[in-house]
């Protein structure tokens, strides 16, 4: 008896939530087909009954009389596809290394890196007046060489393992993004002054988003790759096939569903990302979220136009969500979400 009331309550809540989740999406969808009067004379809900649907808003958007839509769409597509591919690819490689090999990094070596890089930068930039990008580059090389050397020495202190390396990758996500986005903006501006324009450029955005997507890629792919059986690889090793070939010809093909799922998730994050795009682009490489955020002030209450813009950004993500939903139902993702 009690069970049945609970079931009823659960169903009721689910139905309410269904309405709550679905209504805003329905609203933006129908509004895109509304003629201006159906917006400005109060809320209308059902096409053909409340108002006569029209494709005018879509025509306006596509013909470009309401500002350039294709530019931001093209840059969003290019930047997010390339950055997703790069971060999933590099992330899988790193994840594979973290699953199959053991890393031992001395805490002291990490400290050396930090001290040399911060101290060295202040010294070079402040005292010797070397410009920021070069100072950073010199310091980076010096600090890396020094810390690799220190890592080889038999020094005391804690030794970090694979989990710590994974945590190092994932912890990038815990930072407030304004910290790295703003720092990156400052750095890109300096690099631009030294001759390589990165602000508002394809390369700059792809680099930023690759770094942005890598923590997810490493974290998710580590779980997917750890389910690939070692035996196959060991058999291949007996046949003297190199690790790199094993990775590309055996491991990657075997974890294709995982690669697909990871790519979808990373793609969704990059496609929707706002803050980096806001800080790092000014015009040529503006992405869709920036265009959409701008609709608000430039369009006022022209909701049909705003809805079309929003729909353009939403539709690809609906497809992504549907693919992921199907994969989830087949139980693929249940193992990876821990």
């Amino acid at each position: 008896m009690e069970n049945r009331t609970l079931r009823g309550l659960g169903l009721g809540l689910c139905l309410i939530w269904l309405f709550f989740s679905f209504f805003p999406l329905y609203w933006v969808f129908v509004t895109a087909f509304k003629p201006p009067l159906a917006v400005s004379q109060g809320a209308t809900y059902i096409p053909f009954i409340d108002f006569r649907p029209t494709l005018q808003a879509f025509r306006d958007a596509l013909s470009g009389i309401r500002g350039d839509f294709f530019g931001p769409i093209a840059s969003s597509v290019m930047i997010s596809l390339v950055a997703t591919a790069l971060s999933v690819f590099l992330g899988s490689m790193a994840a594979y290394a973290l699953v199959r090999f053991q890393f031992r990094i001395r805490l002291l070596s990490g400290l050396t890196f930090g001290i040399i890089s911060i101290g060295g930068f202040v010294l070079l930039n402040g005292t010797f007046d070397i410009t920021v990008p070069y100072a950073l580059l010199i310091v980076l090389v010096l600090a890396l060489v020094a810390s690799i050397y220190v890592n080889r020495l038999p020094l005391p202190g804690p030794v970090l393992g694979n989990n710590d390396v994974t945590f190092w990758f994932v912890s990038q996500r815990m930072f407030p993004p304004i910290v790295s986005a703003f720092a990156l903006f400052l750095l890109y501006a300096e690099v631009g002054r030294a001759g390589l324009p990165l602000l508002d450029s394809f390369l700059g955005m792809v680099l930023a988003y690759t770094a942005f997507g890598l923590p997810f890629a490493v974290w998710l792919m580590r779980d997917f790759l750890s389910t690939v059986p070692v035996e196959v690889e060991e058999a291949a090793q007996v046949d003297n096939i190199g690790r790199i070939r094993i990775f590309f010809q055996i491991v990657l093909p075997m974890s294709l569903p995982g690669l697909l799922a990871t790519s979808m998730i990373v793609l969704a994050f990059i496609w929707n990302e706002f803050l980096f795009a806001l800080l790092l682009t000014t015009g040529d490489w503006q992405t869709l979220p920036i265009l959409i955020a701008g609709q608000n002030s430039s369009r006022g209450d022209e909701w049909w136009a705003i809805s079309v813009a929003a729909l353009i950004a939403i539709v690809p993500m609906v497809i992504v969500a549907a693919i992921l939903g199907r994969m989830m139902r087949s139980g693929l993702l249940s193992g990876s979400i821990k």
Binding site: V28, L140, P177, V230, L275, A322
Partner: protein, 295 residues
């Protein structure tokens, strides 16, 4: 992991270095420069050569009312919305886990909000909560209430932001809690049912404590992610009325890109980083004590 691991395989560096270098160069290294900038007074407009000012930027932030105001705004949005997300997300996950009628349909629709760009969500919310033309106020009128200016009164605007965050991120909680529920050992619950223990007690004595570690992690992720909020606010209210709905990230952005006060923004982002680190440490310490008491 162990079998091939002991050998000194140099190839492992080839696998990890590219990813490591990109994160290091793009995410970590700029921080060094930003850190030095945060101790300087750098203005782009009017352009003044950078000048070392020590801790002045930090002192100015800590004594500015706008900083504390935006901290308070961010914290209230985050705490209210995460509480709602957790409760609703968990209950929906329970319902789905017990195969409420039509649960396969819900699974896809419930996922959707998570994948929609926050700027789009905010634009939709602007339409839905419009004082005269939006459906929410239309429904209010239907029931005889007056139109409510949701977006121009600070407390209401904050409530709208909480609703938006809850709308968008409850699916995340549902997804993870559902995965957790599916991983629980079925025998324990069978035994409890045989012993005639009611569903209420079964939940509080078995399900909830067993999922506590997962809950702690899920809430942690949501809190940390929630503190980053800027896009929704940027579109929905622009921080207004006045600065009443300005969040920390938006405040930092405004300092840097409207006032061109780069030193301040750098300092602000580091203060923000420290706030998140302190907060995360405290949260994890408290959560650990809580889990231990239950275990």
């Amino acid at each position: 992991m162990q079998s091939g691991a002991v050998r000194h395989d140099r190839v492992k560096y080839a696998f990890i270095w590219p990813a490591f270098l990109i994160v290091l160069v793009i995410s970590i290294f700029p921080l060094i420069y930003a850190l030095t900038v945060s101790f300087q007074s750098v203005r782009l407009v009017p352009p003044i050569p950078p000048r070392f000012v020590g801790l002045d930027n930090y002192a100015e932030i800590l004594s500015s009312g706008r900083f504390w105001g935006s901290t308070w705004t961010t914290a209230s949005i985050v705490f209210m919305s995460v509480a709602l997300q957790y409760v609703f997300g968990f209950v929906i996950a329970l319902a789905l886990h017990h195969n409420v009628r039509g649960s396969s349909l819900y699974r896809v629709v419930f996922l959707l909000p998570m994948f929609i760009a926050p700027v789009c969500v905010a634009l939709i919310a602007r339409m839905v909560f419009h004082p005269y033309l939006g459906p929410v106020n239309d429904a209010m009128n239907l029931f005889g209430f007056v139109n409510i200016p949701f977006l121009t009164e600070a407390p209401l605007a904050i409530m709208v932001l909480v609703v938006i965050e809850t709308w968008q991120w409850t699916p995340f909680v549902t997804l993870l809690m559902l995965a957790g529920l599916q991983g629980l050992p079925g025998e324990v619950f069978e035994a409890a049912r045989v012993d005639d223990i009611g569903p209420w007690r079964r939940f509080w004595d078995l399900t909830f404590p067993m999922l506590l570690p997962l809950s702690v992690a899920v809430i942690f992720i949501r809190l940390v992610e929630g503190f980053k909020i800027i896009d929704t606010v940027f579109v929905l209210t622009g921080g207004g009325p006045g600065t009443a709905t300005e969040t920390l990230t938006l405040f930092a952005y405004n300092e840097g890109f409207k006032k061109f006060n780069l030193g301040m923004t750098s300092a602000l982002s580091f203060v923000f980083l420290i706030v998140v680190i302190v907060f995360g440490t405290v949260y994890l310490a408290l959560a650990q004590r809580l889990t231990r008491r239950y275990a």
